[in-house]
Amino acid sequence: MLNENAKLNPKIFSADIEQLPTRDGYGNGLVIAGSENPDIVVLCADLSESTRSEWFAKKFPERFIEMGVAEQNMAAIAAGLGVSGKIPFISSYAVFSPGRNWEQIRTTIAYNNSNAKIAGAHAGISVGPDGATHQAVEDIATMRVIANMRVFVPCDAIEAKKATIAAAKIMGPVYLRFAREKTPVFTSEETPYIPGKAEIFWQSKKKPEVAIIGCGPILYNALLAARDLEKEKIGTIVVNNHTVKPMDEKKIVEVAKKCGAVVTVEEHQVIGGMGSAVAEILARHYPAPMEFVGMNDVFGESGPPNALLEKYGMGAKDIKEAIKRVLKRK
């Protein structure tokens, strides 16, 4: 059943649950953070409408910097702003930033420990019709591997707003991952959100046998799978692991110990992603059978978002199958 303490949206499983893209949360978060702190500056590489940085630009035009299609320059200029007392947020699609400008992010933002934030929109294959060129499924890996970098992957528009506001208050580099597509807003304003602290969203009444650890909007599919499995008498815990780095090791180990098996769920390559980071922790502290739901070393393609998630093995059905597979390995 849903964890009451998580204070999730009561309409979570109803058909008419509100749907918003997480990038909307970024746009709202920027406006709120910008109202609170005059040092916040937003940069965008010719994608201000679709990254929602436009919302900030309209409110604070003097603090919005249009970069043109120049992601490398955007990262390094942000680094210069970040060591000059500003709190820059750079905005583009994740394939371009942190894709095209990885080295500038590594050198001038992360190693330099500049107070700059990187917002990668349109992450995951749910970008849909634009096809694989625009579907970032490597960004968690390429960001979490950099020292000094934090990685936040919010699960819905409300959490995305909270993550953006939280990132503005953290001194140092943060990568924020957002999605294009409208997805259920299943948390609420009251849902606890503390960077670095994973939250249990679902805990079966019966003894849990598998811990499902997910991040991003696809976490909703994990909750759907958990609900279905409860009817099949399979108990689970679902963890919202929104901070991929620094990860909540304590909670990860705790749920692994409680369940004895783990399934990770992310809209990202299995190689190097959030699940890999969970495996790194468990290999050291509590080795347990694991299955990984995510992209399996292939590129996506054009298509409707949900159909793509199903074709590439990230639907609720795939999560259920992964749970059954891992149960057999216990």
């Binding site: 490398q72 200029i77 680094a79 210069g80 702003l81 060591v83 000059s84 050198t107 330099n112």
Partner: protein
Amino acid sequence: METYDKKMKFLEEMANLLRKEVVKMLVEAGSGHSAAPLGTADIFTALYFHILNHNPKKPDWPDRDRFVLSCGHYCPIQYAAMAHAGYFPLEELGTLRKLNSRLQGHPHRTTLPGLEVTSGPLGDGLPQAIGMAFAARMDKKKHRVYCLTSDGEHDTGVIWEAAMFAGKHKLNNLTAILDRNNIQIDGYTEDVMPLEPIKDKYEAFNWHVIEVNGHNIEEIIDAVNEAKAIYEKPTMIIAYTIPGKGVSFMERDYSWHGKPPTKEEGKKALHDLRTLGGKIKSEHE
């Protein structure tokens, strides 16, 4: 008040001293770049001992001028200038590139007070300097931002992205100096990837461009002063320099781009510098 001639003599002697420091540092380190640090000793002397409004005892002073070394591999000469200006003890110069040193092989902001950014991968410094100049303008600050960029660095796309941005925003508080020494690792710049007409290119990107002899400290200072009087554009000072300047066997030879002198070569180089290439007698002989 010191006289003009006395000041110029001081600066010229300082440049020579910094060159000797660079040779000693590179011999001691056993790796690093020789040609460009020697070639830009006059520029660094002009910056750290005349142009920059800074206080080595207060490297975090908010109103200081900022200096960004975009071509981070030139750092031996920056470290030598910083040490002689008083940022850190001279003895520390011998730790270049060694374990536990603050003098990293390429400049790293958070380890050494006085370094404004981390740089080294080519192209990454100019946009950071532009970010600093933009922040200063937003805050209505009066300090200026200086950036040294190499010619080889102009092969990168990000330099031109940055140049476009600075031109768009008319960043008149930014003065960049382009070390035009015509060499890079694989050869002469015009063979590797022609940059000319580089002056026209910057003008086309809406920069004010001044050309100087990069070994004439007076010309460098004059150009920087001219830049302060340009209100509508950022300024690029193209400084023509001789790579390896002052060391006979290194001058103009691109093979000295990325290697240090051996101990023996170092002795010869120091002799060259002491005798101004054999023109005067060395007191040490």
